[in-house]
Symmetry: C2
Subunit: 237 residues, 2 copies
Amino acid sequence: MSWKDQGRSERGYHHGNLKEALLQAALDLIAKKGAAGFTFADAARIAGVSPAAPYRHFRDRDELLSSIAQRGFEQFESALSQAWDDGRPDTVTAFERVGKAYLAFAREQPSFYSAMFESGLATDVNAGLQAAAERAFAVIRAAAERLAALAPSGTPRPPALMMALHIWSMSHGIASLFARGDGARRKLPMSAEELLEAEVLIYLRGLGFLTDRRPAAQEAEKNPAGPPPGGPWGRPR
Amino acid sequence: MSWKDQGRSERGYHHGNLKEALLQAALDLIAKKGAAGFTFADAARIAGVSPAAPYRHFRDRDELLSSIAQRGFEQFESALSQAWDDGRPDTVTAFERVGKAYLAFAREQPSFYSAMFESGLATDVNAGLQAAAERAFAVIRAAAERLAALAPSGTPRPPALMMALHIWSMSHGIASLFARGDGARRKLPMSAEELLEAEVLIYLRGLGFLTDRRPAAQEAEKNPAGPPPGGPWGRPR
DNA sequence: TGTACATCAGTGAACGCGCGTTCACTGATGTAC
DNA sequence: TGTACATCAGTGAACGCGCGTTCACTGATGTAC
């Protein structure tokens, strides 16, 4: 670095990785001020470039925001399918893991979560964004299909799409009410994760997949795991 | 009206009801542009007063916004308790009505709902706001208490607070994903109301309050209502 | 019933600010020959 | 290997805009006597 670099520290005329830097800056800003509070000019400032530079990479502020939402859905999809792990070791256990992964994502990536669900972006504007959102939901849906297939004989098989929508809304409800990174939410007698786990277990029992205090579905898959102590809500911490 | 009133139509120097007019204007703006998009100046413009006038009634933009949120919670509380109707004619029926009222509020008062749940207001800043929110939640909680008391003998009684949180998160999840006024959401194979109703019924059955295809809790209250046709999700439209 | 005066709820002009966006430009990089 | 040139990714100054907020002010209203 020579004396010429005074204003522009640590880099030359070209940034080299501005697009990524802007996305990262926007994430930081969203974390700090919310999806509505982030500005194009601020992102440029943080990235250390002039306010005109971002226009080389994004048509406008909205395009940057929907890029973030799309990446968010991609990472979300990845986190959920990793948690699902194709239903191993058994469907119910894997399903519970997906729920935890959902909350973990909302908590650990609040900026992505905001951009995805609270930024007011019209999903149908951007085909890539919509497709990414669809793929993420498809993970939940696929898991629900596998669960639905476990319905005890004699019981009507519930529609997997409905189950997927139920699970999604439970997760989203708990995430947005109780598991946000910003913390300034209601205090709970239990963690958001425990709350969701209990809710899902009660729901699954309501579908007949878990007989009283014993995971019937797991048995159907020959899994020797014992019953949870005290039912879904009685779990000692 | 004389020739002097040209600029200021239909009213004299004093507005007479500016505070209410500003609140209404803000609601319209939030409906149109979202909670983040509404501006103090715009509200003044719609109310037909100068941009300085609102400061006679609200310290700043945030105070107006939290006034709206507070009123929203008050109306919400009122709608929910009216739906609950002290558990008449029986607890489960009344409980279902509360769920419908929740969605109806989110759908019919999207501006209030935004201000209440999506504006990023710190609830603990304003004591009145926090208290109003608390009173609204108390309705759900009271209903959950009554439900919990119906637990079949021999079954462990579930904690009412947990049930209330579950019901709230189901309702909020469905409301914010599927039942928003802005419409630009995912298409569903059923209405948000049906989706929530099915979810709650499955959940209650999971708690043992509804025996298979028959509302046990209602029977415990000597209600002669028959079983819903086809289980919670099989309902013909 | 009338008058003086305090109080209240508006006005309108002005401010400083930061935003999004545009423009002609320029330094750096890559490539054809 | 060197040179000419096209392309790319940035600069920095400027614009018009609308915002939140302040200020001295003024018209209307209410009240004491």
